[in-house]
Every structure is written in C-alpha cells, then in structure tokens.
C-alpha cells in the first residue's frame, strides 16, 4: 500500500515535471534567446536549465510561485553562469573583440528596425523586456526572477523601453 502510494507520488511528480517542461519550454527558450542574444547559446542553456530543473524539482513549491517563474529563475542562474564563464574565457584568451553574435534573427515577426534596436540594448534590458513584454509576467513574478523589488523591476522596464524608443527614433 505504501509502495503503491510512493509510486503514485513518483509518477505524479514526473508527470508534473514533464508537463511543466512541455508547457514552458518555449517561454524558457525565448527568455534565454532574448537574454543572451544568441539562439544557439539559448538552446544549450535551455537544455542545461531543464537538467538542473529536474534535479531540483523536489524543491519547487507551488505556493511560492508558478512553474514558469521558477524555471525562469533557474534559467537566469544558468545564463549568469554562462556569462561569467564566457567573460573569463574571453579574458583568458585575451580576445578583445566581442564574438560574433546575432547571426540569426532574435525572433520571428520583428521588423528589422526593431530588431536592431533590441540588439543595441544591454542584456539586462533585454532580460526585463523578455520577462515583462514577451512572457507577460507581472511585476512581482518578474521581480522574483530578477531578485529585485517590483518597483526596481518597473524602473528597469521603463528605462529599457525608453532606450528602445530612443534607438527606434535614431534608426528612423
């Protein structure tokens, strides 16, 4: 009886993770793509994110946030680790030049001007745009992902939008 219950719980947990992964894969991938600005890197980081999510799935508490928010938090951590390692690698190899990126489009459906304006934003600004505009997270959830307050998150969003507007004006 106890084994049966344990098995049911295990099946339920695996199913829940599988459902969450299937449902939020696009969101995590889009967030990482906008965050890193590189779809190939985003693909690797998304796989690593779900590997980590699988290991930490037992820590997920539905009462503290949605699976999407939790997955985005993990994705952010993975992306930051990638940024750090990349910076160390660049310093170690003394590569002054920033590697070529944005070889393919950030997303389908964007005008060339808007995509260029997005590329001129920093990773942090693209991140907050991805969370608030692309994934349409509310301020509290986005702030939880970023590890900052909701007010600070809104400030960052306004600053990013203003910078995006300036870039669009300059392009026009």
């Amino acid at each position: 009886m106890c084994d049966v219950r344990r098995g049911e719980r295990r099946i339920h947990g695996v199913t829940s993770f599988a459902q969450a992964a299937e449902r939020h894969l696009d969101d995590v991938y889009a967030y990482l793509a906008w965050f890193t600005g590189d779809r190939g890197v985003a693909e690797d980081l998304a796989g690593e994110t779900f590997e980590r999510a699988l290991r930490l799935w037992h820590r997920f508490d539905p009462g503290r946030g949605s699976p999407r928010t939790w997955l985005c938090q993990l994705a952010r951590t993975v992306a930051l680790d990638h940024f750090r390692s990349e910076r160390r690698r660049v310093r170690r190899e003394e590569l002054a030049a920033i590697p070529e990126r944005f070889e393919e489009r950030l997303a389908e459906g964007l005008s060339p001007e808007l995509e260029r304006a997005l590329r001129r934003l920093s990773a942090g600004e693209r991140e907050v745009l991805a969370l608030r505009v692309l994934l349409e997270l509310d301020a509290a959830s986005a702030a939880r992902v970023l590890g900052i307050s909701a007010t600070n998150c809104t400030t960052r969003l306004n600053r990013a939008l203003r910078k995006l507007e300036e870039a669009l004006d300059a392009a026009a």
């Binding site: 894969l25 696009d26 600005g37 998304a46 796989g47 699988l54 037992h58």
Partner: protein, 349 residues
C-alpha cells in the same frame, strides 16, 4: 514609451524552441526519476513541533513544581482538622451502669456543620461516685463577647450550685480569651454543659470521667474489716491481765483506729470531690488569620517557564547581537557586490 504597435510587435514575436531542443527536454523528462517530493517540509514540521515542545516544557515545569501528595488538603497542618473542628462526643448510653471507665477522652470528630449545635458530652452516671472533668472550647466574635460570656458562665455556674475554681479573662486587646475552671454539682453537669455550650460556637469538647465507686466500695470494705479487727482487739484487751500484753493490744487498737480514720477521711474526700464535676471552659475570639501562603496556580509553572525563556532570549540576544549585526553587514556587502557585478555583466549588449 515606444508606440503601442511596437509593444504589440514585441509581444507577438514569439520564439519557438527548435525541435531538437524539444526532443532533448522530452528525453530529460522521460528519464526523470525525480525523488519523491518531501511532503512535510521543515516549516510545517516546525509549525507542529515548536508548540508541542513548548507544551512539553511547560508541562514538565508545572509537574516539577507540584509537590507530591498535594491535593485539596495542601497547606493544612497535620491534625488540624481534629484540633479545630468541634468534637461533640458520641452520645453515651447513660442508662448503662456501672460505667466501665475509662479515664480516657471521649472526644470524637464531628462534622463542621454541628459546630453550632449544643455540646453532646456524656454526663456522669447518677448514683455512682465518679470523677468527671470536661473541657469546652467556645468561639465568640469579639473580645467584648468573650467578657460577657465569661460573666454569664459564672452566673450559670452559680445558678446551678457551682462555683468558679479559677478565672482568667483577657479581653482588652484585639483578641479576647478567657479560661474558667468551674465546679458544678455532678447532678447538674448536663444542664451546665448545655447552657455553657449555648454561649458561643463550640470549637472543641473533651470529657474525662473516672469511676471511683469500686475504689470507694473497697475502702468501705477495708474500713469494715479494720473495725471488726478493732472490735476483736477490744474484746481481747478486756480479758488480758499482763501489762505488756495490754500495752501491745492498746497500741494495735490505736494504730488500726488511726488507719480507719485516715481511710474514712480519704473516702469522704473522694466522695466529696466526686460530688462536683470540673468544667474547663475556654472562650476565645477567632485567631487572626495567618497570612495565606501565596498559592501558585497551575499556570505559575508556565509563567515561570516563559520568564526563563525570556531571560534566555535576552542573554542570547545580547551575545548574538554583535554577530547578527556583522552577519547582516556582510550579507549586505556581498549582495551589493554581487548585484554590481551582475549589472556590470549584463550592461553589455
């Protein structure tokens, strides 16, 4: 703020995960053997365990503060019930004669409800020589009442043909006390006890009775034998001619006669003494209530436990506060540095 169409364009710019990534994630989910979720987290466990532990500590403190064997009689001195409650004696079978006495107290414990009732001391047995002594304790409200009751007791004793052998009255202070030793004719003892008992609230009763009838009878028989012996000696004296024999006989007669007189005096004294009963009447006001010992309720242990817990917390706070402040400062510095590095890391396009 960018125009709305730009925001709409951003919202509609969905980025779909490539099929390879989707398959990879599915494989990850498929080989997942996620550990069973911990059903009872630390917070929930603490939510239950902390009150339970606190209750256990409180119960232990309460139980440790309760002395064994303490119940409703806690704090009462041993034997106080017997001493303080009125002791109306068990009604004796007064028709039974002779009384096989005794010399022991006939006091018996009585219910407190009977404290206002008249005393039920057994009276002496009529027709027999008995030494009868009774002690009667009465409680009155005020020293003035004690004084008045003492006067009335004297009047009762005089009215019944008795007298007071000793009187000690102290009714001048906040509390009153009187001790009267009354001699009452034995025939009026019952009446005297009833009337004296009505002067106040009976708090104690005691009676001692000793039957002297057998002793008096024995003395009478001895006197009779001695008188018979004296009569024989007198007859012998009349027939003796020798001077030495007469002197010896006369000395014997004188000695027997003297002994007979002593025995007769003793017997008369015994009978005279037994004709009166001794009643020791004690009148007193209520003793000032001693300060009640602070009776700790069942929650006292709990309060004490929480007090000690509070003291411990204050000490812990005083000791840990510097470390906490340093820890908070370190955390703030680390957090600030980490955020600056993050901002720096994310500030590049």
């Amino acid at each position: 703020m960018p125009p709305p169409d730009v925001l709409d364009q951003l919202r509609e710019a969905r980025v779909a995960a490539p099929q390879e990534l989707r398959e990879r994630v599915r494989l990850i989910a498929a080989r997942a053997t996620a550990p069973p979720r911990r059903r009872i987290g630390l917070r929930r466990a603490a939510l239950v365990l902390v009150p339970v532990l606190a209750a256990c500590v409180a119960a232990a403190v309460v139980l440790s503060h309760r002395t064994p064997g303490t119940g409703s009689t806690r704090g009462l001195p041993a034997g106080s019930t017997v001493e303080s409650s009125p002791t109306p004696a068990a009604p004796a079978d007064r028709s039974a004669a002779p009384q096989p006495f005794t010399g022991a107290a006939a006091a018996a414990p009585a219910a407190a409800a009977a404290s206002k009732a008249a005393p039920l001391l057994p009276g002496p047995t009529p027709g027999r020589v008995q030494r009868y002594e009774a002690t009667l304790g009465l409680r009155l409200r005020t020293p003035a009442a004690v004084s008045a009751a003492a006067r009335r007791a004297l009047r009762i004793a005089g009215g019944l043909g008795g007298y007071a052998r000793s009187i000690q009255v102290d009714a001048g202070g906040a509390s009153g006390y009187a001790d009267l030793v009354l001699r009452i004719p034995r025939a009026n003892v019952d009446d005297a006890v009833q009337r004296l008992g009505a002067l106040g609230t009976v708090t104690s009763e005691n009676v001692q009775a000793q039957d002297l009838q057998a002793q008096v009878n024995a003395t009478g028989r001895l006197i009779a034998r001695l008188e018979k012996r004296v009569g024989a000696l007198r007859s012998q004296l009349a027939g003796e001619q020798a001077r030495d024999e007469r002197d010896r006989t006369e000395r014997a007669i004188a000695a027997f006669t003297a002994r007979i007189e002593r025995l007769q005096r003793g017997r008369a004294g015994t009978i005279r003494t037994a004709r009166y009963a001794t009643i020791d009447l004690t009148l007193s006001t209520p003793q000032p209530q001693p300060a009640k010992p602070h009776h700790h309720g069942p929650l006292h242990g709990l309060v004490a436990a929480f007090r000690w817990i509070g003291i411990g917390l204050v000490y812990a706070l005083a000791i840990a506060a510097p470390f906490v402040v340093v820890g908070v400062l370190v955390w703030l510095v680390v957090r600030t540095v980490r955020r600056r590095r993050e901002d720096e890391l994310l500030s590049r396009p």
